[in-house]
C-alpha cells in the first residue's frame, strides 16, 4: 500500500511540472501574440504624386503601421499583403533594428514593388483605380492582425487613415457614447487632405480628460462625489465580503469545537469568541505560576511547533560540501 502511494506521488509530480510548464508557455505565447496584435494599419496613401518621398527621392504609395501598445513591438517576421489568398506575400525581414516600433510610434512601408531597395520596400504596389485590400499577418502567416479595404477612387495626395491613431470600432463607439464634446464624426476611416506619414493622424495639443474636468467641474464637486463613491464602493464590497467570510469562519470554528469537545452550540460560541486578551491572561498566569521561560526571565515565548520545511530555507543545502580527500 505504501509503495502504491510513492508510485502515485512520483507520477503526480511530473504531471504537475508539465502542467505548470504548459501554463508558463501559454502565458509567454499569449504575451507575444498580444504584442504583435497591437500593430494597426493606420494610414495609406494610394496615389502619391507630389507628397512624401522615399530614401531614393521617389514618390510611391505608402502604408503606415502604428504600434498602439505601451511596449516596443518588433514587426520583423510578420507579413504584409494585398491579397487575402496570399497572406505571406511580403515577409518583413528579420535582423533589422529599425523594425522595432516604439510605443505609440509609426513605421512606413513603400508599396513600390521593389523589395531590393530595403526592408521597408514592399514587393507589391497599390491599384490607383480600384479598391485595395491591405492586411498584416502575424509571423505564423495565418493569424490576421489587421486589415483594411481602401475604397476605389482615391484622390492624388489625399491619404485614407484612422480618425485617431490606433483606434478601432469599439474605441470610436466608446468615444461617441461617453464624450459629448467629440467632434471627429462617426467614421473610423476618413480621408486626410493633410497627410501625416510617420506621425500622428490626430495631433493632441491638450489632455482631453483634464480639459473635460476644467470645463465641466471647475469647483471639483463632481470629482469629489464620483471618486468618493468609488472609494466607498470598493471598501464597502470588501466589508461585505469579509463580513461573509468572517461569518463562515466563525460558524466553522463553532462546529469544530462542538465536534471536538462535544459541547452545545452555545458553549462552543462562548469558547470560540474569547478574545486574544483571555489567551494573553492565560499565558501570563502560566508564566507566573511555573516561571517557564526559554531565553530571558521576563519573556514568555509561545513557539509554533509546525515545521515549515523547504529545501530553499534549509541551511544544509546552502553549505558547500567538504572536499573528498580520499
Amino acid at each position: 500500500m505504501g509503495i502504491d502511494w510513492i508510485t502515485l506521488r512520483l507520477r503526480i509530480k511530473p504531471a504537475i511540472t508539465t502542467l505548470l510548464l504548459s501554463l508558463l508557455l501559454c502565458t509567454f505565447s499569449s504575451v507575444q501574440a498580444q504584442r504583435t496584435t497591437s500593430l494597426k494599419i493606420n494610414e495609406i496613401l494610394v496615389i502619391n504624386e507630389t507628397n512624401f518621398q522615399d530614401d531614393y527621392g521617389v514618390q510611391h504609395p505608402w502604408i503606415e503601421i502604428y504600434n498602439a501598445s505601451a511596449g516596443t513591438v518588433n514587426i520583423a517576421g510578420c507579413y504584409l499583403t494585398n491579397d487575402i489568398n496570399q497572406p505571406r506575400m511580403y515577409p518583413v525581414p528579420k535582423g533589422d533594428v529599425l523594425t522595432k516600433v516604439k510605443p505609440n510610434q509609426h513605421l512606413l512601408f513603400w508599396a513600390d514593388s521593389q523589395p531590393t531597395r530595403g526592408t521597408f520596400h514592399l514587393n507589391f504596389t497599390l491599384d490607383p483605380v480600384g479598391s485595395n485590400f491591405i492586411a498584416l499577418f502575424d509571423s505564423d502567416g495565418k493569424t490576421l492582425i489587421d486589415s483594411v479595404t481602401v475604397p476605389a477612387g482615391q484622390v492624388a495626395d489625399i491619404s485614407y487613415g484612422l480618425v485617431h491613431d490606433g483606434w478601432n470600432a469599439k474605441r470610436l463607439d466608446e468615444e461617441l457614447r461617453l464624450n459629448q464634446s467629440y467632434t471627429g464624426g462617426d467614421k473610423l476611416w476618413i480621408p486626410f487632405t493633410q497627410v501625416t506619414p510617420s506621425s500622428n493622424n490626430f495631433i493632441l495639443d491638450k489632455n482631453d480628460k483634464v480639459e473635460n474636468f476644467r470645463n465641466n467641474d471647475a469647483d471639483g464637486v463632481g470629482m469629489t462625489l464620483t471618486a468618493m463613491a468609488v472609494v466607498f464602493a470598493g471598501l464597502i464590497s470588501l466589508y461585505l465580503l469579509f463580513k461573509l467570510v468572517g461569518h463562515v469562519a466563525v460558524t466553522l470554528s463553532h462546529r469544530r469545537v462542538m465536534k471536538a469537545s462535544g459541547v452545545s452550540k452555545e458553549a462552543a460560541k462562548d469558547i470560540t469568541e474569547q478574545s486574544g486578551d483571555i489567551f494573553a491572561a492565560i499565558a501570563m498566569a502560566i508564566y507566573e505560576s511555573t516561571e517557564l521561560h526559554d531565553v530571558e526571565n521576563t519573556v514568555l515565548t509561545i513557539k509554533n511547533t509546525a515545521r515549515n520545511y523547504s529545501p530553499w530555507s534549509s541551511k544544509i543545502y546552502t553549505l558547500r560540501e567538504m572536499p573528498n580527500k580520499k
Binding site: A227, M228, G234, I236, K243, S275, D277
Partner: protein, 384 residues
C-alpha cells in the same frame, strides 16, 4: 610675477566653483529647513526614519555649485543623484515600499471588524477637499489631483501620483506629505478633542475576535481582485501591497516576507528619502506654488481627520449600543501608519487609562492605506 598671477587666477577660478561663491538666500533657507527636519527627527523623534534621510537630502540638494556640466546636481542627466532619482521620477520606489508595508502589516484588526474599512474610506475626503481647494487656488485639475493626494497621508502614494500627474511639483508634494505625516501628533489631537464629547471618548469597543490564517490568506487575494478590478490604475500600489501581505500570511515564504519588510524596504526608504530631499534644490523648490502646496497639505490633513471622526459619529447612529465605535479612532482613517493609530491610543488613554484603542485604530489605519491607493488610482484614471 607671471607665475604668481597664474596661481592667483587659478585660485579665483577655484573660488568661483565653491559653494560660498554660488550661495543664494534660497540655498540658505533650504539648508535651514533641512536642519529643522533633522532636529525634529532626533530631538522630538517625529518620524526619524523619514525626516533624517529627507532632511539630510535637503542639505545635499542645496549645496550651491556652479552649473558647469560637472554632473553633480539631481537634475543633471547622468549624475549619480539623478540616476538614483529615477526611482522617484519613474515611480518604481513607491510600489516597492508598498511591498514592504504589505509584508509588515497585520490586517487582523480589519478582518475581525470589517466595518472599520468604511472609516478608511471616509477619511479620503481629505484628498478631495484639498483637490477642490487647489482648484480654487488656481492649480489646473491634474496639479490639483497631485496636491490633493497629500491628504491621503501616504508618502509613497503621493510621490507615485505626483510623478505621473505633476512631475514639476513632485518635490514640494513629497516633502509636504512627509512633513505633515511627521506632524500628525501635533495636527490631529486638537481636532479629535474639538469634535468629540467626553461620553464618546470613553466608548469601549468590543475586543477583536481571533482571525484564522485562512481568512488572513484570503484577504490579500480578494482585496487585490476587488479593488483592482474596480480601479485598475491603482494596480502598481495595491498589487504590491497585497502581494507583500500574501508573502507574510502564506506562512511558507517567510524569507521573502522578511526581505520585503526588512532589507528591501530599508534600502528603498533610504534612497527615496535622500533623493526626495535632494530634489528640493532652492532654484526649483522655493516658489509660491510650493508655499501654496504646504498650505493645502496642512488643510488636507485637517479635512481628512475631521471627516474620519465625524463619519464615526454618524456611523454610531446606526450601530447597536454594544457595537459602537469610539470616534477617537476616526483620525486613523488617514493612512500615516502607524502614527495616527498611535494618536488614537494616546488621546484615548488621556480620558480612560484602561481603554486601549490601538488594535481598533489599526483597522481604519490600514483601510486608509487601501483607500488612499484606490483614490490615487481614481485620480490617475480621471486625469492621467
Amino acid at each position: 610675477m607671471d607665475f604668481l598671477s597664474f596661481i592667483g587666477d587659478n585660485l579665483q577660478i577655484f573660488l568661483s566653483y565653491t559653494g560660498f561663491a554660488n550661495a543664494t538666500w534660497g540655498h540658505l533657507i533650504m539648508i535651514a529647513v533641512g536642519l529643522v527636519f533633522i532636529y525634529l527627527a532626533i530631538a522630538k523623534e517625529f518620524e526619524p526614519m523619514l525626516l533624517i534621510p529627507i532632511g539630510f537630502g535637503i542639505l545635499i540638494g542645496n549645496i550651491p555649485f556652479k552649473d558647469a556640466g560637472l554632473q553633480l546636481g539631481i537634475y543633471e542627466e547622468g549624475s549619480v543623484l539623478n540616476i538614483l532619482y529615477q526611482g522617484v521620477t519613474s515611480g518604481w520606489y513607491p510600489p516597492l515600499i508598498f511591498l514592504g508595508i504589505g509584508a509588515m502589516t497585520d490586517f487582523s484588526a480589519l478582518i475581525s471588524n470589517p466595518k472599520l474599512m468604511l472609516i478608511g474610506a471616509a477619511a479620503q475626503f481629505g484628498i478631495f477637499g484639498a483637490y477642490t481647494l487647489a482648484l480654487l487656488w488656481g492649480f489646473d485639475p491634474s496639479q490639483a489631483g497631485a496636491i490633493g493626494i497629500i491628504g491621503g497621508a501616504d508618502g509613497p502614494t503621493a510621490i507615485f501620483l505626483s510623478s505621473k500627474l505633476a512631475p514639476n511639483l513632485m518635490g514640494a508634494i513629497a516633502v509636504s506629505a512627509y512633513s505633515y505625516m511627521a506632524l500628525v501628533p501635533v495636527i490631529q489631537p486638537p481636532i479629535m478633542r474639538l469634535l468629540t464629547n467626553k461620553k464618546e471618548r470613553l466608548i469601549r469597543m468590543k475586543p477583536p475576535r481571533v482571525v484564522s490564517q485562512t481568512e488572513k490568506i484570503i484577504f490579500p487575494i480578494v482585496g487585490l481582485l476587488l479593488t483592482c478590478f474596480l480601479v485598475p490604475s491603482g494596480l502598481p500600489l495595491l498589487g504590491m501591497l497585497f502581494f507583500g501581505n500574501l508573502l507574510k500570511e502564506s506562512g511558507v515564504t517567510r524569507r521573502l516576507a522578511e526581505t520585503a519588510r526588512g532589507p528591501l524596504i530599508d534600502v528603498i526608504t533610504i534612497l527615496l528619502g535622500i533623493t526626495v530631499g535632494a530634489s528640493t534644490q532652492a532654484t526649483q523648490f522655493l516658489t509660491w506654488s510650493s508655499l501654496k502646496i504646504f498650505g493645502l497639505g496642512a488643510l488636507s490633513f485637517v479635512i481628512a481627520t475631521t471627516a474620519g471622526v465625524l463619519f464615526v459619529k454618524f456611523f454610531n447612529l446606526f450601530l447597536k449600543k454594544d457595537n459602537k465605535i469610539n470616534p477617537l479612532i476616526g483620525n486613523a482613517g488617514v493612512s500615516a501608519v502607524p502614527d495616527s493609530a498611535r494618536i488614537s491610543q494616546i488621546v484615548g488613554l488621556e480620558y480612560d487609562s484602561t481603554n486601549y484603542l490601538l488594535m481598533h485604530a489599526m483597522g481604519p489605519n490600514v483601510a486608509g492605506v487601501i483607500g488612499s491607493a484606490v483614490a490615487a488610482g481614481i485620480l490617475l484614471g480621471f486625469l492621467g
